[in-house]
């Protein structure tokens, strides 16, 4: 009986301390009331780490009304990852994308929420060389696509957590080194879902559809004015034929991403112009079912195709350079 009393007293003391701790955290009262003990510790850790990370940085006290909207404009959320993959910080709009709130997720490890096949890539990007500020690896801009669990239903509501789906996020960012303690260094990422819908396409973009082997099955007319090929000429040809050979690895990565993750951003690569030379382009692509799926769930055996929106970034460079046979055939004006 005595020991039970002692235990109870100890637990009460502990709870009190937890309570104190949670009150010190800058949280909304509603959120605070429902935190459990491990969450409190997690949030405390996040808080301390973020403070350590930002210590000594110039902080502009004036916050512009516009800058508050940054995340909204970007349509994404911010994620700060430690070297071990702990999500030290997530901006509060993460709930819009993952269906889970900031306080639920913060402090957890990203590997618990991402697709196992993407772990290797994430780990690769997390490789931060501690302490060596000038290391090339640390200064590189990180850019990758990963699949993360989302508890949102396709209608956008928070659904049953057991039936989570994979959401594809495009993550870009860089390393932030903490001079004081290298263990606090982390990777700052903005994560956005890849939108393909209803974006106004300028005259310098064209859409195309491809089979899963990247052969064109459709291309819009715009390609003629941008690259000089007629859409009919492209059908059945592989995109690898039309690009600069040095960019093959970039295309490869894009293709793989599409097959594995169903969405991809290609980064910059060169497409050959029919009359010679090339242009720099970037493609945003996604895998979509070839036929309109029924409401419940897409039939896995339906043929898939790749939808690509390609942005032309530059003018024609080196117009006299001929890198493929296509370019050697003169084109007569029709």
């Amino acid at each position: 009986a005595i020991s039970r009393e002692a235990a109870r007293r100890r637990r009460r003391v502990e709870s009190d301390v937890f309570g104190d701790l949670s009150r010190l955290l800058p949280l909304q009262a509603s959120v605070r009331a429902h935190l459990d003990k491990p969450s409190i510790i997690r949030l405390t850790l996040s808080f301390i780490r973020m403070q350590a990370l930002l210590r000594g940085e110039n902080r502009q006290t004036e916050i512009n009304w516009l800058e508050e909207m940054y995340l909204k404009i970007l349509e994404g959320f911010l994620m700060v990852l430690s070297t071990t993959g702990d999500m030290i910080f997530l901006s509060d709009n993460v709930s819009k994308y993952m269906g889970l709130s900031q306080t639920e997720l913060m402090g957890h490890n990203i590997f618990e929420y991402t697709h196992p096949c993407d772990h290797e890539e994430i780990r690769h990007n997390l490789r931060l060389t501690a302490g060596w500020k000038k290391c090339r690896e640390n200064n590189k801009h990180k850019d990758f696509v990963m699949r993360i669990k989302s508890a949102l239903t396709h209608r956008g509501r928070v659904g049953n957590l057991k039936s989570t789906t994979w959401k594809v996020l495009h993550c870009q960012g860089r390393v932030k080194l903490c001079v004081a303690s290298s263990s606090v260094s982390c990777l700052l990422l903005t994560c956005r879902p890849l939108p393909l819908s209803h974006t106004l396409l300028s005259t310098h973009t064209f859409t195309s559809q491809h089979g899963m082997d990247m052969r064109f099955t459709y291309c819009d007319q715009r390609v003629t004015s941008l690259l000089g090929y007629r859409p009919e000429e492209l059908l059945g040809r592989s995109i690898y034929d039309l690009c600069h050979t040095l960019d093959t690895s970039c295309l490869n990565k894009n293709h793989l991403n599409l097959c594995l993750k169903s969405q991809s951003v290609s980064g910059q690569y060169r497409m050959l112009v029919r009359s010679g030379g090339y242009v720099w382009v970037e493609s945003h692509s996604a895998v979509i079912p070839g036929v309109q799926p029924s409401r419940s769930r897409p039939n896995p055996s339906q043929p898939l195709c790749i939808l690509s929106v390609t942005y032309v970034l530059s003018g024609v460079e080196e117009p006299s350079l001929q890198l493929s046979l296509d370019q050697t055939f003169p084109r007569y004006p029709r």
């Binding site: 301390v17 301390i48 349509e75 889970l100 618990e112 801009h141 049953n160 970037e282 979509i288 929106v309």
Partner: protein, 604 residues
């Protein structure tokens, strides 16, 4: 929720959290029905996260007793408790690592102490932080707004831009633009966006800014079907309205030198020529928004004031990093491989198209020539040996790395696997298939191969072989090709004699070998001299053409000038020189004979 419960409820489209609580009992798991007080949705979600990761963090509920009951029933309580405790301990450890006060301690601190120290630490941080906590204007969050913004801008490498759609006047730019474009915020605010955009992109940007009637060329993409949606009246309003998204790339001017612009008062775009600026590619993401004009643009002139609202494009412009075109280090570049086929005497009968990228010659240029013409002299012995070997063996023979002469005169390092194909009826070797792989190595430069081979031998040979009256160029040519032919000959002999190949074939040479203490190179020269005579004529003809062309090609090579045999250069000793003379004399004698060399036996 237990695993059993989750299996049962996985397919049910439960929308409400309330349903979730009744799940376990409905699924028929053996858990006692738990009296769960109605909690807010957020909290139930927390508990639901248990299902997310059964292996992980099972300790998120408040009441530990209830939690235990809710866990996977199959697991003993013991293990569940243990896992929860471990997790808690890990968290406590992490916490103590982060708190400066806890670090110097030698032994591990207990939980309560760590927590108390954490409280103190937070209090200290709060006291030290400048106004971050006292700022009641914004809702409290783990990270105050300004720090968040700072983080974002770091991560994004970008700046915010608000542009008036009708005049393309830049109404607002964030400070971070100076880091990216090297122009200060002040310089850019109020200027026209088009002054800073690459001329070729102006049209593109104009389009993106257009908030008036949709131009016929504009298209939208319906992501669910991938089909372009025709712009029609129905779509238009949403496109123009607040919230319509924009995403495009453009090139903006980027001033090379910071501080350079400080002494100018005029607009940068006016005075400077295009060439003095570099452009960087930006990815602009944002949307259209309408605001009351007075708020945004105090400088607006009268006409503007009449319109009550302005359409603006609000974007985040992120720097598009330049792409490095080196293949990433962890990508294994497959070594270039190509296949060739040759007759038993080493003359190419088929050359893979890919070979051109390696050796420089087009297939038709090498067909009919002997592979020995391209081998470097250092490798002749070993390759001749392998040649002999493959003709007699049914297995693949692998060569060591050797040098192969390319069209431009340099050498490329190859390694090959040879395999002979025997006609099953005649039981004779018909051809040799060679699968060649490029070996990356230091010795592929032309200079290096020449440097390596510019030994004394070369110089000697150069001197010695200037035999008066004889065109040594042609003479040397003969021996290159004939190595292969001779080896083929040997094989022919073998078939005919139908005896152990090595004894007969080597006997003509064996004696020669014994006679003179020659280097291996000379041995091959002996073979050549022995075998070269009768077919020297035919060879000479074909070699002449080859030599003519290759001589022209190889004019640049210094040490191999006089002896310019593709692949085979000089012999290394006096004896070798003698051999040459001997063979030349022989060839004079035998010239005119028809070239059915298979009938020749060398009665040594």
């Amino acid at each position: 929720m237990s695993a059993g419960g989750s299996d049962g409820t996985a397919d049910r489209p439960a929308d409400q959290a309330a349903e979730e609580e009744e799940g376990p009992s409905q699924a028929g798991s053996a858990m006692p029905s738990v009296e769960l007080p109605r909690k807010r949705k957020g909290e139930v979600e927390e508990r639901q996260i248990l299902n997310f990761n059964l292996e992980d963090d099972l300790c998120r509920s408040e009441e530990e007793d209830q939690q235990v009951k809710m866990k996977c029933f199959r697991e003993p309580h013991r293990q569940i408790e243990k896992r929860r405790r471990d997790k808690m301990n890990n968290l406590i450890d992490e916490l103590s690592a982060m708190i400066p006060a806890c670090q110097p301690m030698a032994r591990k601190l207990d939980k309560l102490t760590v927590l108390r120290k954490a409280v103190q630490h937070l209090k200290a941080l709060k006291a030290g932080a400048s106004g971050a906590f006292t700022d009641t204007k914004h809702k409290p969050s783990i990270l105050p707004q300004d720090e968040l913004r700072h983080l974002l801008l770091r991560a994004a490498d970008g700046f915010l831009l608000v542009v008036r759609c009708d005049r393309a006047k830049m109404l607002f730019i964030s400070e971070s633009v100076s880091k990216i474009l090297n122009f200060s915020k002040l310089e850019l605010t109020g200027q026209s966006l088009f002054d800073f955009i690459h001329p070729k992109d102006i049209h593109k940007v104009k389009e993106q800014l257009s908030s008036s009637e949709m131009l016929p060329q504009q298209r939208l993409v319906d992501a669910s079907t991938g089909v372009q949606v025709q712009a029609d009246a129905h779509v238009r309003p949403s496109h123009l309205a607040t919230g319509a998204r924009r995403s495009f790339f453009c090139r903006m001017k980027h001033s090379r030198v910071t501080g350079k612009h400080e002494d100018k008062h005029s607009l940068p775009g006016v005075s400077k020529k295009k060439e003095t600026y570099r452009y960087c590619t930006l990815h602009c993401i944002g949307y259209m928004r309408t605001w009351p004009s007075s708020q945004l643009d105090p400088e607006a002139d009268c006409t503007d004031k009449e319109t009550s609202s302005l359409n603006c494009l609000v974007t985040v412009c992120r720097l598009h990093p330049p792409v490095s075109h080196q293949p990433p280090k962890d990508v294994n570049i497959k070594a270039t491989e190509f296949v060739t086929r040759c007759a038993i005497d080493g003359k190419f009968t088929f050359v893979d198209q890919q070979a051109t990228t390696v050796i420089g010659y087009l297939p038709q240029e090498v067909l009919g020539t002997s592979c020995y013409e391209y081998f470097h002299q250092d490798d002749l012995q070993h390759l001749a040996g392998k040649h002999r070997q493959v003709l007699r063996s049914k297995e693949k023979v692998e060569t060591q790395c050797y040098k192969f002469k390319t069209k431009h005169g340099s050498y490329v390092m190859l390694q090959s696997q040879w395999f002979s194909f025997t006609n099953p009826w005649t039981k004779e070797v018909e051809f040799i298939v060679s699968s060649n792989k490029v070996v990356s190595g230091p010795g592929n430069a032309k200079d290096e191969s020449e440097a390596g081979s510019s030994t004394l031998a070369h110089e000697e040979a150069k001197q010695i072989l200037e035999i008066p009256g004889l065109s040594t160029g042609v003479g040397m040519m003969i021996y290159a090709g004939s190595i292969g032919t001779q080896i083929a000959n040997e094989l022919g002999d073998t078939y005919r004699a139908n005896s152990s190949p090595s004894s007969e074939a080597s006997s003509p040479f064996g004696s020669v070998q014994e006679k003179c203490p020659l280097t291996s190179r000379s041995t091959s020269s002996r073979e050549e001299e022995a075998g070269s005579s009768s077919h020297s004529q035919s060879l000479a003809d074909s070699s002449k053409e080859a030599s003519g062309s290759s001589e022209a090609e190889c004019r640049g090579e210094s040490s191999q000038l006089d002896l310019d045999v593709p692949g085979l250069s000089s012999f290394s000793s006096d004896e070798a020189a003698m051999a040459v003379i001997m063979s030349l004399l022989d060839s004079d004698v035998n010239m005119g004979q028809s070239g059915d060399f298979e009938d020749l036996h060398w009665p040594f």
